[in-house]
Every structure is written in structure tokens, then in C-alpha cells.
């Protein structure tokens, strides 16, 4: 067995990458300010699949957070920081599709379908109700003789009886 130092070079390198900037992060920007920016962004390191930049713990995300902290310290606003990142990486860096142009569809379609579904549902229910009223004007014994299930105990007794076969 070859001798090993306490912290093998392989991951000394890695953690320097992640933490090398530790000493100079005497941040003026508060963690909340940082979070306000990072929660709108994703990590684009390529291996951790668009994880939120707030919570991603890969070395790349650490570096990005350091950069953003520095930019905030230098007096840049949240919008300026994000705009700079978009210049650098494209709008893919945003966690959600920007609500403008074609991408507005992303936001509208789910609710449009929700509304459309409700309209279809209403139409269906109304037409079913109509065929019931049409049928009762021509009374049929099955539905006519059904007890009014207003009373819970009556309903329960009926259903228990239904299930007695279980």
C-alpha cells in the first residue's frame, strides 16, 4: 500500500476549485441578496442537470455564487447581474422560461387547458342532465323507484347491503 497524505492531491485540487476563493469572500452582499439572484438561475455545469443555483453544491455552482457575490459587492443590481449571465450563457441560465414572446406559451398553455377542460366538463354535465330530464318525463321504474338518499343512514344501509357480498 502506497503512503497517502491526509488529503490526496486529487481532491485537494477539487476542493480548491470549490473553495479557493473562501479567503476573499468577505461579502458585503447578504446571503438573502445572493439567494434572490441565484434562485432565478440554474447551474449549467453540464453534469448536475439544471439544478437551482441556490442549492447546487458542485464546484461550478460554488464558483458562480462567488462571482455573483463579488458582482453584488461591486454594487451591481440583481437585474444587471442576471443580464450579464444571460450574455454569457444565453437564456438557458434562467430557471424558468422568460414570460415573453413564444415562451409565454409555457405559462399560458397549462391554465388555458385547465379552463378549456372546465368548459368541456360543463357541456358534458349539462347534456347528461338534459338526457335525464328527457328520460324522467317518460318514467322508467329503475330510477323512479330509487329511494331518496337524503338520509345518510338509509344510504349507508343500502351501501352496506350492496357490499355484503364482499
Amino acid at each position: 500500500m502506497r503512503p497517502r497524505s491526509l488529503l490526496p492531491t486529487r481532491y485537494v485540487l477539487w476542493c480548491l476549485l470549490a473553495l479557493g476563493l473562501l479567503s476573499r469572500s468577505v461579502a458585503a452582499a447578504t446571503p438573502e441578496q445572493l439567494r434572490e439572484v441565484t434562485q432565478e438561475l440554474v447551474c449549467l455545469c453540464g453534469t448536475c442537470n439544471h439544478e437551482s443555483l441556490t442549492s447546487c453544491i458542485c464546484g461550478f455552482a460554488e464558483g458562480q455564487r462567488q462571482d455573483i457575490t463579488q458582482a453584488l459587492d461591486a454594487g451591481k443590481t440583481k437585474e444587471q447581474v442576471i443580464a450579464q449571465l444571460i450574455d454569457e450563457y444565453g437564456r438557458m441560465v434562467l430557471a424558468t422560461p422568460p414570460a415573453e414572446g413564444f415562451n409565454l406559451m409555457a405559462w399560458l398553455a397549462p391554465f388555458a387547458l385547465l379552463g378549456f377542460g372546465l368548459i368541456v366538463l360543463r357541456t358534458v354535465l349539462v347534456s347528461w342532465r338534459r338526457s335525464q330530464t328527457a328520460a324522467t318525463s317518460n318514467p322508467n321504474p329503475a330510477s323512479g323507484a330509487a329511494p331518496q338518499p337524503g338520509d345518510y343512514e338509509e344510504r349507508m344501509r343500502r351501501e352496506l347491503k350492496n357490499y355484503e357480498a364482499d
Binding site: 481532491y11 442549492s55 330509487a146
Partner: protein
């Protein structure tokens, strides 16, 4: 063994071809001998694929690194458990595993239904063996797990480190058992369409065979969440990753189906709709697999790119054409006379349930596919991340939880105003009281307030159903309350098992709501330093490192106390596997019903041994896991065979054997409610 495994796979292909042909011909010619031969061939496929899987396992366990799959997904230092689970750790092996589970399902369906659903069975066998045929083709021509390298490496690459975790050993089999199992209801649905036997039989079979994979899928989803929570280190359990979404979608469709079939059973309505739902559920399973395996959408779960995707695209197209074509062909028989006696009825609520579940499904599908759609139209790559899914699905989810409680309070046909008042007063008052209390206690998040109010409403509504049912039973039987409650649930397994699942959903939602109150902190501590986070007090004791054959482990020891009382010593770790650049994360969690203290070791400075931590205080997460357990228990309660099931099966057996069953039809009518 490898050759034997490969040979068995080849034989399985021939057998599957034979099974499809004989079962289909048997059905067309009503030739019982051919049908039986097809069923026996289905059993043979199961045997052959079992041999094949054993062959691959043998190669893994004997470290036969000349086999490419073994060299890529295992190595000598992996513990036995992960060497076994490596079977589903890579593309080719997992597809073989998938095919094997499918063959097990097929064999189970054949054996259970030797004397049941006879008009449907040959079509069921034909559909399922045709699916098997597809997977065997895939394994032989696009994803051969038995391919040999021209040389024998001394050691393998090893399983992807993030998969070397106990939850990852069980989460994929659970999920596969769920996804693959959806092929059974699909097969029964298609069989009903092919045979034209669109009575209740297929529906009865479908419900039972849907419940099993649906439960596995739900459990698999939550196990995946648990794995992500403790292994990925970002403080959450659900990230709306495309692959998570891919397995959530069939679960949503299956849930919609399990509810809307009740309308068909009771009133013969929605025949067409239920057929669409059952076929859609399976379609979504295959679509999900296509998304995962083809690499069209990037994901943490993405397998190595291969042409497997194009096979799935063809398969997806075939099942779509077949489903749409057959529904069109039988559209007249699927037409049903539909009537509604009152808008205030269980029927209406079930339709609302379908509406909200499918809306959620669409929102998830849309968000998953939107990056593709957007890139196709605008040429720009964009991200649809977790915040999108949360913003869209939270309001939809709140309507869903409302229906979970409101639905059971409506009676079939019509609900009188008095009984509505009687059933709703307590739950509404209780819900508002809880909501008000939360507001007074300082909950300011709007969604969280609504969610907690609704959760309380649902709990009161559902427990009210248990309570009233028990009282009604006591009224007529003079049993004690606990006995009456048990017998009530036992005699109405389906209904009260369903309510148990509804209660488990409340537990899940309570857990989800906790996410609104997550707090997060970054800390850099030198050994011996203290810090306060929330009302926790932590002391960073020391950083330790050890090495074994597989990996280097770096761990921080942190003592956690609250109010002076010792809680736990937490050991968050990073693992550096050989040949892998990125370290894996092992999170340390101190969990209670109130909240989780979640500690991640982010990195450390070799110079002064200071360490950087990320800390999350995640309220109510344990409710999610407990809800998962409750979900499985409730679902098991639902699907447990009843004496009615046994009597129906016995009747079917007698008739199929030509034995006198008395007035069979009358008996069956008496049993089938």
C-alpha cells in the same frame, strides 16, 4: 453462462413470436388448443428470460469483465448488493430486467386467469407477448447486455457512484414493476377492443391489474425522492426532473382511471373515456421510457446515448396507431347512454377529479417537453426548471386536495341539501379553524395557509365518513365501536382502502407544504467552532478521512444540540470514488416530525481544516415518508382479495371446466354488484 444467457434470449425471441401468432390465431379461430399453446409459450418466455437474467447476474458476480456490460457497470471492489443491483444500473441490463419483469407479469396473468376472462385472454396474451417480443428485439439488436469485448480488462469501471446507495438498489425495481405492470391493464383494454367483449369483465380485470402497478409506481416515486434527498444534497426530494415527471404522468393517468371506472361500473357511462385512460396510461409509460432512454431531453437519469430511442419511437407510434384505430373501430360499442340525476352528485365530483388530474398531467407533460418545443420554434435553448412546475402545479394541486375530501361527501345520483349541510359543516368549520390558528401562529405564506386549511378539511371529511359508517354499522349489528370500524373497513375494502389512500395524500400534502418554510444557511467553520442555526446549536468537532478499496471518504463530525440537550452527532460526508471526478454527497439528517436538520459537507480548506457546510431546516419532511407508507398500506387494503373475488373466480373456474354451476348467471349477477 453468458452464452447460455444469450442463447436463452434468442430462444425467447422465437418463443415470443410463436406466442403472439398462436394466441392471435387461437382467438380468431376460437381454437382452444392454440390459445393454450400461446399461454404455455408465454410461460416459456418467462422461463427463458429468467435464464437470461441469471446468466447476466452470473457474469456480474463472477466479474467476467470480458462482457462489456459487466466491465462498464461493476468492478471487483463493489459490495455484493451493488454487484447484484448493477443489473439495472446500466442501459442494456436494465432493459433486460424490464423485459424479464414483463415476462413475470405475463406468466402471472396467464396462471391466475387459466379459467377466467376466457374470451379476453388470448388477446391479452398476444398483446403482452408482442410487447415482450419488442423488448427482446431491443435487447438483441440495440442493447445487447451480453456483448463481449475483444480483450478482458483487469477490472471494471464500477457502477456510477451515485447509484451505489441502498435506495437506488430498490427504487428502480419498484418503478419498473410499476411502469411494466401498466402493460397488463393496457392488454386487457386492447383485448376488450379486439374481442368486442366490452362488458364489465375487462373493467374488473383492469382495475385489479391497475392497482398493483399503480401502487408500485407510487412507492417507487417516493423512494426516488428519498434517494435524491439523502444523496444529491440539494435539500429537497422532488426536482421535476424529466425522468421523475415521466413516471409521475402515468401515475396521474392511472389515478384518474381508478376513479372514473367507478362511474362505468355503477352506471355504465364513460365507456369510451375509460378505455382512452387505460390506453393513455400505458402510452405515457412508454413515452416516459422514450424520453429517458433516447436522450432527447437532458436529465440526471439520462442513460448513454444510443439508438434505443428510435426503437422506442417506433414502438410508441405502433401502440398509438393501434389504440386509436381500435377505439375508432369499436366506437359504436363504446357509446353509452349517459344521464345525470343531479349536479350535486358523486358522478360530478369524479368528473372534476378527472379534469384536475389530467390538467396536472398536461402541465407536467407540457413543462417537460417545452424546451424541445421552444427550441424547435425559436432556435433558442431555454430551461424549464422546478420553479415553473411549482408555480403551475401548486394551484392545481390545491384543487386536487380539496376534491380528495369533498368527493366522498357526495352521494351517488344526488345529494340532498340537508345531507350536504350535515356532511360539510364540521369539515369546513374545522378547516377554517386550523387555517385561522396557523395564521395566528404566524404562517404568512398564502398557499401554505390554503393548503393547511384544506388538509384539515379533508382529514375531518374522511374521518367523518369512517365515523358515520361505523355508527350506521353499530346501529344494525350492536358491535363495539372498534369492531364495527374494522368490519366496516374489511367489508368495504375498496371504498375504505380508497379513503386511507386519501388520508395518505393529506400527509403528503402536509409534507409538501413544509417546503414553503425551508430555511437555508451557508457556514464556514474551523474545528471546534460553534454556530447557531434556528434554535439548533452545532459544534464542528473534526474532519476525518478514511480510504477503502472503493473510495476515499471525507467526513465531518458535527455535534448538534438544542436548548442545551444533546440531539445527535452528525457525520456528513463526501465520497471520492476511483476513476470518478465528481465526489458524491452523503447528507446527514436529524429528523423529527416537526422538521429535518439537513447538513451537507460542501468542501474544506486543507490549510486550516476549516469546512464549508450547507444547512437546510426542512419542516415536515417526515410527513412525506410517512404518507408514502400510508399510501402503500391503503392501496394494499384496497387490493386485498375479498371473499367476493374468490367466489367469482370459483364460479368462473366451474363454468370453464364445463361443470354444472347451477344457475350460473343468476349467481354471478348476485355477486357482481
Amino acid at each position: 453462462m453468458i452464452d447460455l444467457g444469450y442463447f436463452a434470449l434468442c430462444l425467447a425471441l422465437v418463443t415470443a413470436g410463436y406466442a403472439v401468432a398462436t394466441a392471435a390465431m387461437g382467438a380468431r379461430q376460437q381454437n382452444v388448443a392454440l390459445m393454450r399453446s400461446g399461454e404455455n409459450a408465454a410461460l416459456a418466455i418467462c422461463g427463458l428470460l429468467t435464464v437470461s437474467v441469471i446468466g447476466l447476474w452470473y457474469a456480474l458476480l463472477t466479474h467476467d469483465f470480458q462482457v462489456e456490460f459487466v466491465a462498464e457497470n461493476s468492478n471487483r471492489s463493489m459490495p455484493l448488493g451493488y454487484t447484484i443491483s448493477a443489473l439495472w444500473g446500466g442501459q442494456n441490463g436494465s432493459l433486460l430486467f424490464w423485459g424479464w419483469i414483463l415476462s413475470l407479469y405475463t406468466a402471472a396473468v396467464v396462471l391466475v386467469n387459466r379459467h377466467r376472462y376466457r374470451p379476453l385472454m388470448p388477446y391479452v396474451v398476444a398483446t403482452m407477448t408482442a410487447t415482450s417480443f419488442f423488448f427482446i428485439v431491443l435487447n438483441l439488436f440495440a442493447a445487447d447486455p451480453f456483448v463481449r469485448l475483444p480483450f478482458t480488462p483487469a477490472d471494471g469501471n464500477g457502477l456510477n457512484p451515485i447509484l451505489q446507495h441502498p435506495y437506488m438498489a430498490i427504487h428502480p425495481p419498484m418503478l419498473y414493476t410499476g411502469m411494466v405492470g401498466m402493460s397488463v391493464p393496457f392488454a386487457f383494454g386492447l383485448a376488450a377492443l379486439f374481442s368486442g367483449q366490452l362488458d364489465r369483465n375487462w373493467l374488473y380485470a383492469c382495475r385489479r391489474w391497475m392497482l398493483i402497478p399503480w401502487t408500485f409506481l407510487g412507492a417507487g416515486l417516493l423512494l426516488g425522492g428519498k434517494w435524491a434527498y439523502v444523496e444529491l444534497g440539494w435539500g429537497g426530494y422532488w426536482a421535476w426532473d424529466p425522468v421523475e415527471n415521466a413516471s409521475l404522468m402515468p401515475w396521474l393517468a392511472g389515478t384518474a382511471f381508478l376513479h372514473s371506472i367507478m362511474i362505468q361500473e355503477r352506471k355504465g357511462m364513460l365507456k369510451m373515456w375509460n378505455m382512452v385512460l387505460v390506453l393513455l396510461t400505458y402510452f405515457l409509460c412508454i413515452l416516459g421510457t422514450f424520453i429517458t432512454r433516447s436522450g432527447v431531453i437532458s436529465s440526471v437519469h439520462a442513460f448513454a446515448k444510443s439508438n434505443v430511442g428510435s426503437y422506442f419511437a417506433v414502438f410508441l407510434t405502433l401502440i398509438t396507431l393501434l389504440s386509436v384505430g381500435m377505439i375508432w373501430y369499436r366506437r359504436e360499442s363504446l357509446r353509452a347512454e349517459s344521464r345525470l340525476e343531479s349536479f350535486a352528485s358523486r358522478e360530478t365530483v369524479f368528473l372534476l377529479n378527472n379534469w384536475i388530474l389530467l390538467s396536472m398531467l398536461f402541465a407536467v407533460l407540457w413543462g417537460t417537453l417545452f424546451p424541445l418545443i421552444s427550441e424547435a420554434f425559436t432556435g433558442e435553448k431555454i430551461t424549464v426548471g422546478a420553479p415553473f412546475f411549482n408555480q403551475v402545479n401548486v394551484p392545481i394541486g390545491l384543487v386536487l386536495i380539496l376534491l380528495t375530501g369533498a368527493g366522498p361527501l357526495f352521494a351517488w345520483r344526488r345529494t340532498s341539501t340537508e345531507s350536504l349541510k350535515k356532511n360539510f359543516t364540521v369539515p369546513i368549520a374545522g378547516g377554517l379553524a386550523v387555517g385561522g390558528l396557523c395564521a395566528i401562529l404566524g404562517v404568512r405564506d398564502g398557499y401554505a395557509l390554503v393548503s393547511l386549511t384544506l388538509c384539515a378539511f379533508v382529514v375531518l371529511a374522511i374521518t367523518g365518513e369512517f365515523h358515520r359508517g361505523t355508527l350506521a354499522r353499530q346501529h344494525s349489528t350492536a358491535e363495539s365501536y372498534p369492531v364495527a370500524l374494522f368490519r366496516l373497513c374489511h367489508k368495504n375494502r375498496r371504498r375504505f382502502g380508497g379513503y386511507m389512500v386519501h388520508l395518505s395524500l393529506v400527509m403528503l400534502f402536509v409534507g409538501f407544504t413544509g417546503q414553503a418554510f425551508t430555511t437555508e444557511r451557508d457556514l464556514v467553520l474551523t474545528p471546534g467552532a460553534n454556530a447557531e442555526v434556528g434554535d439548533y446549536h452545532l459544534t464542528f468537532e473534526t474532519l476525518a478521512q478514511k480510504e477503502d478499496a472503493r473510495r476515499d471518504v471525507v467526513a465531518a463530525a458535527v455535534t448538534l444540540t438544542r436548548g442545551g440537550a444533546f440531539l445527535s452527532t452528525l457525520l456528513p460526508q463526501r465520497h471520492f470514488y476511483k476513476n470518478v471526478d465528481q465526489p458524491t454527497t452523503e447528507v446527514a439528517v436529524y429528523a423529527s416530525w416537526r422538521e429535518d436538520f439537513y447538513l451537507v459537507l460542501v468542501g474544506w480548506d486543507p490549510k486550516d481544516s476549516s469546512a464549508k457546510f450547507k444547512i437546510y431546516i426542512n419542516p415536515l419532511v417526515n410527513w412525506v415518508w410517512a404518507g408514502g407508507v400510508a399510501f402503500v398500506l391503503g392501496a394494499l387494503w384496497c387490493m386485498w382479495p375479498t371473499s367476493r373475488d374468490r367466489r367469482l373466480a370459483a364460479l368462473d373456474r366451474r363454468t370453464s371446466q364445463g361443470l354444472p354451476a347451477g344457475d350460473w348467471d343468476a349467481q354471478k349477477r348476485g355477486i357482481e354488484v
